[in-house]
Amino acid sequence: MSHTDVEASASETLLVEPSRLSPTRRALGTVLRSRELSIFLVLVAVTVLATSKNESFLFSSDGLRNFLLNPSILLLLAVGQGVVIITRNVDLSVGSVMALTAYLTGRLFIEVPGIPVVAVIAACLVVGALLGLVNGALVAYGGVPALVITLGTLYIYRGIMLTWAGSDRINAGDLPREFLRLGTRTTLGIPWMTILAFVVLAAVGYYLHTARGGREMYAIGSDPDAAVLYGLPVKRRLLAAFVLSGALAGLAGALYTARYGTVSSSVGSGIELQAVAAAVIGGIAIFGGSGTVWGAAIGAFLLVTINRALPSLGIEDFWQRAVVGVLILGAIVLDRVLATRQARKLAESRDHS
């Protein structure tokens, strides 16, 4: 893309008057300037770099599978987290929800021999949704910031899981083979779990873009007070966002068990912050109202891929975490710089008019 083109289309958006550009060119300009594209290019760069050092990073059956499979659990969490952040909230309890349903999966297979896999996954979805409903109800009706509520439920849900599991842990031997195959099977070289995650992503992304409920979530995050004055069903949308986040975390729990076969008490601790990081890196504004779950999904891919790539590039473990931190800060600083520059340009263009 040429530099002047981007400049021209950037100043075009400052105009109050209707744009003279054709809709197609405008759409192209929007895509070129989008965070999704730039973060995707970073992902491509990391992948190319790692592959050039070590060809099997991508070009081996294991490499490609890991590239696609490893991010899928985080992707599900990031999609749910993204929706919640778009409404100007946050869900810190997803790691604990995931741990609970991961353990639930194992217990169900042990307690009810012969239970269909579909029934177990459905149970995880329902339990996750219920735990999300608790979060959503407390946030929507309690009037307490989601940060505090979900920090509380993070500990409560984890506590329930620890009390229930005790020193017990689930091993691969407790699980039916057909369930474990879910974690490894592929179609045309694409793992089933990845396909499932992409289907969820596509459904949520489509809903946010084209359904009234989805647009209202953006509106609520953009200005909660105005949303009330508009007469939007704010409480219902908040409930929906948290239920979705909970349900996806529930699903992620079941997939975790299928993928790794063992469930210990520390499953998913800290993953809620990775989900927030993926969403923020992917361009979802932490104060809500903008960004897409596509971005959050690419963010999840980037985080997992960086973690896998850095060792093969010979970079130490400590630096891997630091790189993630730099990415988050970079994303936020970039947002601020762009926002203030935009505001200044707008102010100046008004002065001259």
Partner: protein, 505 residues
């Protein structure tokens, strides 16, 4: 909407009241609006107009009284219900979603749907374009709402209200930030809506607009209904006397003070897109009023002078000493005090005791070895609260539970404890009931008498004219007039406040 209700007025409110804790915002509001009529609602700020509007919109629920819409009694508990019933409201401040496109802002919550409950974006954009061409404006329907001027935002609010196909349209000071051309355009739209048989309620402070547009006018004062007149049967002077209804001198007990040396001197203060070339001087013992329309940049100037916000060029000095830009702590040390517009959010530690609030800004001088005890705070705060007659039983009462007037006094007490030379006060009596307003005014006047320089920002013209020794008028970020007390008439101030708009239009 059917024939059976055709005879009934579209909107009828009788003796509606609404209180917020100890503050009575609306004592007895009544309003009767017929179909095919433009009904002006006038009254001073704090007369209860906006509260009345919010009851109609379903933002607030009335405490008592009757509320009929199209002949049927209604009781809205949310704005969604009022919308459903055909009520559209344009609020004083535009309420848009900055991240979303102009089109989405117009149709949020009721977007046209295509097959599969999918939002039909092309249809939505086309409809937005149709609305804008009907309004005669050129706004890109695809651009985000962020960064639009207030006038453009107002246009979007109007487009939204029109698209609702409402039978009752309420406009709360829609012209406050519009230029002459934009006002004319708005009026043309309002008239065409009236001719379609809709009912409109129009709130404005500008009499020329009321007489140009409305056919009926209702006056409110101190939260109560006063009178309703046909527009042909009344005159501006009669409306003023109905609106004020009391002796102005009573309300503004300004005592003449000896005016001393300049305290605050501001030279060429400029911030791109916000304000330009602001020169102003406030002398000891002088109250300078800063007037202007909403969005003229008054608060922004005050915040820049105090150092809360940065500015691009210019200088601020206090008693001859330059004040560092963007550094409120050095402004406080130099003797500046600033009482912001929203005292609950910015001026008070709302969930703290009175004495903690008052002692807060002088922590450093009362602390012993870096520690502060409650008794130290009480000792320091006592004299100030007493002097200002803050009516709280004990100094440890929570500031949140006090009335607006007492809160304002606590804020003033807090700053007086720093022994300032200059007090900048933004909207000193907003949200304060009329009885207490006079006390705040008396206090300001007294303080000026003791040699304090006061820069007062106010949207209430009577307050500015009654209190200020000198009035500076700001319009679109530029000073457009400087009027002495004798020359400061409502007409002169309003002319200066809108002059810039008219010349550029």
């Amino acid at each position: 909407m059917s024939d059976t209700t055709a005879a009934a007025p579209v909107l009828e409110l009788r003796d509606v009241s609404k209180s917020f804790g100890p503050v009575v915002a609306l004592r007895s509001g009544s309003l009767r609006v017929d179909a095919g009529s433009i009904h002006a609602l006038i009254g001073e700020n704090g007369a209860g107009k906006s509260t009345l509007v919010k009851v109609v919109a379903g933002v607030h629920r009335r405490d008592s009284g009757t509320f009929d819409l199209g002949g049927e009694s209604v009781d809205f508990s949310s704005t969604a219900e009022s919308k459903q019933a055909g009520v559209a409201v344009i609020y004083q401040e535009p309420t848009l979603f900055p991240d979303l496109s102009v089109t989405e802002n117009i149709f949020m919550g009721r977007q046209p749907l295509a097959r599969g409950r999918r939002i039909d974006r092309p249809a939505m954009t086309a409809e937005a374009e149709r609305l804008f061409s009907r309004l005669g404006v050129r706004i890109d329907p695809r651009r985000p709402a962020a960064g639009l001027s207030i006038a453009d935002q107002q246009i979007i609010e109007i487009a939204k209200a029109i698209s609702l196909d409402a039978r009752l349209l309420v406009m709360d000071e829609p012209t406050a930030a519009l230029s002459g051309v934009e006002v004319d355009r708005l009026f043309a739209v309002a008239r065409s809506l009236r001719d379609e048989g809709r009912a409109l309620v129009f709130i404005s402070h500008r009499f020329d607009e009321v007489f140009a547009l409305a056919d009926t006018v209702t006056v409110m004062r101190d939260g109560s209904y006063i009178d309703t007149r046909r527009i042909e049967e009344t005159s501006p002077s009669e409306l003023v006397s109905l609106m004020v209804g009391r002796d102005v001198d009573d309300l503004f007990p300004k005592v003449p003070a000896e005016i001393g040396a300049p305290v605050l001197e501001v030279r060429g203060l400029t911030k791109a897109g916000v304000f330009h070339d602001i020169d102003l001087v406030v002398r000891a013992g002088e109250i300078v009023g800063l007037a202007g329309l909403v969005g003229a940049g008054r608060s922004e100037v005050a915040r820049a002078v105090f150092g809360v916000d940065s500015y691009d060029s210019g200088s601020v000095s206090l008693s001859g000493r330059d004040i560092k830009a963007h550094d409120p702590r050095s402004a406080i040390r130099a003797g500046m005090a600033f009482i912001p517009e929203d005292r609950r959010k910015q001026g008070l530690v709302i969930d703290s005791s009175v004495s903690r609030n008052v002692a807060g800004v002088i922590r450093r001088s009362i602390a012993k070895a870096g520690l502060i005890t409650a008794s130290m705070e009480n000792r320091a705060a006592g004299p100030w609260a007493g002097r200002l007659e803050v009516k709280t039983n004990a100094l440890d009462m929570n500031a949140a539970t006090m009335s607006g007037g007492n809160q304002q006094k606590v804020v003033i007490a807090k700053w007086l404890a720093t022994d300032p030379q200059l007090l900048i006060i933004d909207e000193p009596t907003r949200g304060i009931d009329v009885g207490t307003k006079a006390e705040v005014h008396r206090l300001l006047s007294e303080l000026a008498g003791q040699g304090l320089a006061i820069l007062m920002i106010s949207s209430e013209l009577p307050e500015v004219l009654g209190m200020a020794d000198r009035v500076l008028v700001l319009c679109e970020g530029r000073l457009t007039a400087e009027l002495d007390r004798a020359d400061a008439t409502p007409e002169a101030v309003m002319h200066a406040a809108t002059h810039h708009l008219e010349t550029t239009a």
